[in-house]
């Protein structure tokens, strides 16, 4: 059993509270990504599993067993560090075998077995030809593989990865993340992977926990997080490009509430109207596909100016300023645009998302989520 569970975990550094009362479960054999911007507490949370940080309140459980007071050596987790943390005075094979030679495992493995296991892991990660080199002579991608190999060599039931591919260049990053996914499918090790890169999280994870300033904003499978963001933060963080989230005043009209975008007032679709009742501001989340450039005299045209524009792959993306906010528009048609240019756009509200202007929590028909703790408890694993 290697389910990992955080129960009401709090961590403070001096007067600073990193997070408070976190509940999160990573089921056995799952691949969980902790996703969030730097300083959100994701790394601290993962380090608690390794025993490198201890909680100020609450419990950390591995396989149902409380490990708060267990020293790192006895937790039986493998960990790969963001900066690889290879021992520069040892060769690749010595680095790989280092965990096997730990005194607490003295006598468990003969030298021949250690060599066999080292060769096996080196083969798995395709670094067998590097075994005799000093780690200083390796490229970043190779060092990363050695770090991963060192974490995997004991076949630990729990694997912790701290930004494992962040420092690699683009091509290697793609290769490595496919490799991580393949490895996980093969070994089934319960894995926690910390990253700030949403594309990486979507690509590799079974489950994503999105964190922001010490709060878990949402937990769920990648596509659920992408399709159905529970908070404005998640909407604006996940996706490439993510949703544009803008604050929009709501005006009561004779035939229902209307959303004010710049100089225009939009009538929301019927399903949305109900959510707007009694509110004077909401956060509106728009996918780029919901935004289109139109002729200024087209019906429903909204006046906008070009805030910025850039080429992304074969398409052009334009940030449009509407009132105080900005929305992103994308098109495969390349044309010249200038910053400050006046344009007109149309916005399709059918796929749009609404969030509470204060709490940022998604407004959905029928539900009224408790403020502040949205999505912290995971629906898939009911608490006993």
């Amino acid at each position: 059993m290697s389910e990992i569970r955080f129960e009401g975990v709090t961590k403070r550094f001096g007067a600073v509270t990193v997070f408070e009362d976190i509940d999160l479960t990573c089921p056995e054999h799952a691949y969980l990504c902790l996703l969030g911007p730097s300083g959100c507490g994701k790394t601290t949370l993962m380090r608690m599993v390794a025993g490198l940080e201890s909680p100020d309140a609450g419990d950390v459980l591995i396989g149902g067993e409380r490990v708060n007071d267990l020293s790192p050596a006895w937790r039986n987790v493998g960990m790969a560090f963001q900066n690889y943390a290879l021992y520069p005075h040892l060769s690749v094979s010595e680095n790989l075998a280092f965990p096997l030679r730990a005194p607490i495992r003295k006598g468990q493995m003969s030298e021949a077995e250690i060599t066999r296991r080292t060769d096996e892991v080196a083969g798995l990660l395709r670094i067998a030809w590097l075994l005799d080199r000093p780690v200083g002579a390796l490229s970043g991608g190779q060092q990363q593989r050695v770090a991963l190999g060192r974490a995997l060599i004991r076949n630990p039931p729990v694997l912790l990865l701290d930004e494992p591919v962040t420092h690699l260049d683009a091509r290697l990053r793609y290769e490595m993340r496919a490799e991580l996914k393949t490895l996980h499918a093969r070994l089934g090790t319960t894995t926690i992977h910390v990253t700030h890169d949403q594309s990486e999280a979507l690509a590799v994870a079974d489950l994503i926990a999105v964190m922001n300033s010490g709060e878990i904003e949402q937990v769920g499978p990648p596509m659920a997080v992408y399709d159905d963001p529970r908070t404005a933060f998640v909407a604006g963080f996940v996706g490439d490009p993510p949703m544009s989230v803008i604050e929009v005043p709501v005006h009561p009209g004779g035939d229902g509430p209307r959303l004010t975008l710049g100089d225009s007032a939009l009538t929301p679709p019927a399903a949305m109207s109900g959510l707007l009742d009694g509110r004077d501001r909401v956060l509106l989340g728009l996918r780029p596909a919901a935004v289109d450039l139109v002729a200024p005299d087209a019906p429903g045209a909204i006046a906008a100016t070009v805030y910025a524009h850039e080429m992304v792959g074969r398409e052009l993306q334009i940030m449009l300023s509407i009132g105080e906010g900005q929305v992103r528009y994308r098109t495969p048609e390349i044309r010249a645009v200038a910053v400050g240019e006046a344009v007109a756009c149309a916005i399709d509200l059918d796929g749009a998302r609404l969030f509470d202007a204060q709490t940022g929590i998604a407004l959905t028909a029928g539900s009224d989520p408790a403020p502040g703790r949205a999505g912290a408890a995971m629906p898939e694993t009911p608490r006993p």
Partner: protein, 292 residues
């Protein structure tokens, strides 16, 4: 007009190429000069030791002379009842032991100060260094009385203890900064892999501060080897070190320059060899490739 425009860049280019070369020649020349000047005393010492008495006092100085080992012979076998080898042995023993103790204990203390957060950590580090603020001469009387009380006067142990304590504060300070530089993830990785703190210290941290160990060992040894004041007070005959012997030598014999320099040579040689051996560990950048 057109000609100057055409030639000017070419001339400037040649000038630009010549300039760095001239500069490097100047730098090299200056370096050679400085090295030469600082080696003059060593040169005079060795040649004087190898000259015959008449050559030593010849004026103008003789550059070409018949080398003779007479001064060495005199110093080792004729002068005084004491054999110079005993003092050499004392110096080697005291320097070796005090350096080993200072570096070993210092590394452990430095690691603790670098890695563990505890109340008054910074104050303690400062306090340790403060033991070096007063000149050693200020301690002479209490030190003498203490060693006298436990019967350690004129014993090698007395100097070993004193030099260890003098070097310790400096070793701790230097090594602490070396340990702080080791990325903490290296040690965390080992902790997660099943190593205890002590094993992490020995297997990961210590190998990575080799340059620091070498540097502090050299400086500790040089201090212990050359220290004269306390050695002259705490020792009389049996435990005297080379500097003490040298001073007595010049006083009792008048100044016999040839013999003086011959012994001086043996006072300099061991510590030079020690430094040369450790010097290759002084390379920096040992943590290269550890983290990125």
């Amino acid at each position: 007009m057109s000609t100057t425009a055409a030639t000017e860049p070419a001339g400037a280019a040649a000038g630009a190429a010549a300039l760095p070369r001239l500069r490097s020649i100047l730098i090299l020349g200056t370096a050679c000069l400085v090295t030469g000047i600082s080696l003059i005393p060593l040169y005079i010492m060795i040649t004087t030791a190898l000259k015959s008495e008449s050559d030593i006092f010849a004026w103008p100085p003789v550059w070409a002379f018949e080398p003779t080992f007479q001064s060495f012979y005199n110093a080792f076998f004729l002068f005084g009842g004491q054999n110079v080898l005993v003092f050499l042995f004392n110096s080697v023993l005291i320097t070796g032991a005090s350096t080993a103790f200072a570096v070993t204990l210092g590394a452990m203390a430095a690691y603790g100060l670098a890695r563990f957060k505890f109340a008054a950590n910074k104050h303690l580090a400062f306090f340790i260094l403060s033991t070096r603020f007063a000149p050693p001469v200020a301690f002479i009387v209490p030190i003498y009385l203490m060693f006298n009380a436990v019967g350690l006067i004129d014993s090698q142990l007395a100097l070993i203890i004193f030099y260890t304590s003098m070097n310790l504060s400096f070793v701790i300070w230097v090594l602490r900064s070396f340990f702080v530089e080791i990325p903490v993830e290296l040690e965390e990785a080992a902790l997660v892999d099943g190593y205890t703190r002590w094993q992490v210290f020995r297997r990961v941290a210590l190998p990575l501060v080799k340059p620091g160990l070498a540097a502090t060992a050299i400086l500790s040894a040089v201090f212990s080897w050359n220290e004269f004041l306390l050695a002259s007070i705490l020792t009389q005959r049996d435990a005297a070190t080379i500097p003490v012997y040298l001073s007595g030598f010049s006083a009792s014999m008048g100044i016999a320059w040839g013999e003086y320099m011959a012994v001086g040579f043996f006072a300099v040689a061991p510590i030079m060899i020690f430094t040369l051996v450790l010097q290759r560990h002084l390379v920096r950048g040992l943590t290269f490739g550890a983290v990125r």
